[in-house]
Amino acid sequence: MISGSVHHSSDPASDLAFPFGLGRSGLHELAEARYGDFPALTGLALAALRDAGRGGACLWVIQKTLAAEHGRPCGGGLGHAGVNPGQLLLVEARTRMDALRAVEEGARATDLAAVVAELDDMDFTAARRLVLASQASRTPVILLFPHTRSGATAAQGRWRVSSRHSQPDTADLRAPGRPAWRVELEKSRLQPGEAGRIFDLEFRDEAPCLRLASGLAARPSAPQPRRVTPFRPHAWKPRWQQAG
């Protein structure tokens, strides 16, 4: 079932493959697919940060109205996701304008691991400003938006994220398994041809923690019909027997 592997290196060429620089460079938007997908955004952002592996503190800007709706980031949960909550600097902004100011200051700083911000909306000019600041300082910026986010953006990409059924835990079949998300690359400036592709992702504890649950990422962008192999228990042989 799993055939894709995600390459991890710091050279810019790797930004052309999944996850297209998310958490590594530039400005990226994550938006809810439907109301209630905000924790999925949070999880995806954290996983991308962990995969990017940039050292240093992370600036996390919260617009207070959103925190009341979706709760605040929880240190214990961040620790479970493998991100050090001690390296987190939270900014609680009352208005969108205040939040954008804080994000801009963060995007200009050169020694942050990343800037993550939860905003209700943003106009094109503000996005462009942030892109320029982020390019100059090489600090990646991830913006989390509610499902109402739409329209043009200056960001490098916009991802639509929704929660997906988890594979049940192998130890306890009644328990929810590892977090899983369905992610659609809605817009992309780096790879416009990739826009509209859907990735099924799963979070796992070891590095890299973002795993493609389907083999789509390794394949070229042209859609290919998926070959469904029926499961035939009697035809199956262990690999060493096949070789022999």
């Binding site: 940039r54 050292g55 503190a57 979706h70 900014v91 804080a102 929660s163 997906r164």
Partner: protein, 458 residues
């Protein structure tokens, strides 16, 4: 005289209600402006200001010259004033209220100078004054020679007699009088008197660019930095505009201070011109180099603490105070108390990793207070089967738990303390929730248990 009678005599009389609160605010604003003569000021009464000018008079050419300067500047602003200067607060008050304006008394002339003033200059209550006048005592000097015990005996209450003696001693400097300044004295202060009043922000900016290095040089001499800086602009119309910026850690870098003031500088309205610029430093502390990296269990902890605190200062300067926070772990298993959101003070907290043994996974987003749920469960002590949250029905597909957390009995709580059973559940759409049941059936601590949602998983 009633107002109707007064208007009958002077038809042009205008009446306005007294606004004590506004008067008091105006006096406080004036007090800030009076700091141009001395940094130590107190509000003495509803209508009086007390300025401690010790060591300040020579800057203005002597005491009479300073009083003349004050009177002239106040009159320019259309304020009438009565000034008195004396070695003690009590004597200065008496001079200002009962004497000829602008009288200066020194130590030697204090006793004689006060002798001719009426006793109402002693800050006594009206009843006491009436009583003293009945005794034929109308001047302060008449009190000097009276035997103290004899004076005390004439009052029916001991407190009234004490008040007279205390006020007399305070005026003569025989007894110390505490003064409560409106603002603590700054640790360091530099000021720039402008030859011509500044009318534009460019001038203020240039002035600040001269003051900041001067202040920082002084801080560096002491090997210190400061966490609060206050820029005060004294305008010609008897008012002060002030800006305060705060730093997360003590700093003494002029460039950083200028940067913090930069975005706020436009809030200064020069009005009719700014005569004096003053920059103060408060909250001083020794600057210690920060260790790089705490060596936690996480990789990549090479955070530059200094750069981070400077970034926090810039954000604070642009948005407002107390917006930059950290998550600090607390030694408690109770979810509401296990971590607190605190103001960032230049230090990052250290989190132990991994999480305590036996602790189940924590959600990625946590609600400040748990939200109530309506739940249907298969068995009373089991996980929910279906629940309604924010008017939406969620069908539970997977559930893990319970993780039972007992309340901290060593802490005072309101109401009966009930244990909580936390479950990690996933609904039909793949969303994962952290829900708990407060209490158990038949635990004898209130009615049936209630369900809440406390967090969301990724």
């Amino acid at each position: 005289m009633r107002f109707a009678d007064a208007r009958a005599r002077a038809p042009g009389l205008v009446a306005e209600p007294v606004d004590r609160a506004a008067d008091s605010r105006a006096l406080k604003a004036l007090a800030l402006w009076m700091e141009r003569w001395s940094p130590s000021l107190a509000l003495a009464e509803d209508d009086s200001l007390l300025i401690d000018t010790s060591g300040a008079a020579h800057l203005f050419g002597g005491e009479p010259e300073m009083l003349a300067d004050m009177a002239q500047r106040l009159e320019q602003g259309g304020l009438s004033c009565r000034l008195g200067l004396a070695p003690t607060p009590g004597a200065a008050w008496a001079l200002a209220h009962e004497g000829v304006s602008r009288v200066c008394l020194d130590e030697a002339g204090l006793r004689d100078g006060l002798a001719r003033l009426p006793i109402s200059g002693l800050r006594l209550s009206e009843e006491t004054l009436v009583l003293l006048r009945r005794f034929g005592l109308t001047r302060i000097g008449q009190l000097y020679d009276i035997d103290r015990r004899a004076l005390a005996r004439r009052f029916h209450s001991r407190a009234a007699a004490e008040a007279v003696l205390v006020r007399l001693d305070q005026a003569l400097g025989l007894r110390q009088e505490p003064v409560d300044p409106i603002r603590p004295k700054p640790d360091h202060c530099v000021r720039l008197p402008c030859v011509e009043a500044l009318l534009h922000l460019d001038g203020v900016k240039a002035g600040l660019e001269r003051l900041a290095p001067e202040l920082c040089a002084r801080l560096q001499e002491h090997g210190e930095g400061a966490r609060r800086f206050r820029l005060a602009a004294f305008r010609c119309d008897q008012s002060v505009v002030q800006l305060v910026v705060a730093a997360a850690r003590p700093v003494n870098d002029p460039a950083h201070i200028l940067r913090l003031f930069r975005d706020r500088l436009e809030r200064i309205d020069p009005g009719f011109g700014i005569e004096i610029l003053e920059l103060e430093a408060a909250g001083t502390g020794v600057i210690r180099p920060m260790p790089r990296g705490f060596g936690g269990d996480f990789e990549g902890d090479e955070t530059d603490m200094e750069a981070l605190s400077l970034l926090a200062d810039r954000i604070t300067a642009r948005i407002g105070d107390r917006v930059v926070k950290i998550l600090r772990p607390v030694a408690s298993h109770w979810p509401e108390r296990s971590e607190v959101v605190e103001n960032y003070e230049g230090r990052l907290p250290v989190w132990d990793q991994p999480a305590p043994a036996g602790q189940a996974e924590r959600p990625i987003r946590l609600f400040e207070r748990p939200e109530s749920l309506q739940v249907i469960a298969e068995i009373p002590h089991g996980p929910p089967m279906r629940f309604v949250w924010r008017r939406q029905v969620h069908q539970v597909r997977f559930a893990a738990g319970p993780e039972r957390l007992s309340p901290e009995w060593w802490r005072p709580v309101q109401g009966p303390a009930r244990a909580r059973d936390y479950y990690r559940v996933e609904d039909g759409e793949g969303r994962r929730f952290w829900v708990f049941r407060e209490g158990l059936y038949g635990d004898g601590r209130g009615g049936p248990p209630a369900w809440f949602i406390h967090g969301l998983f990724a």
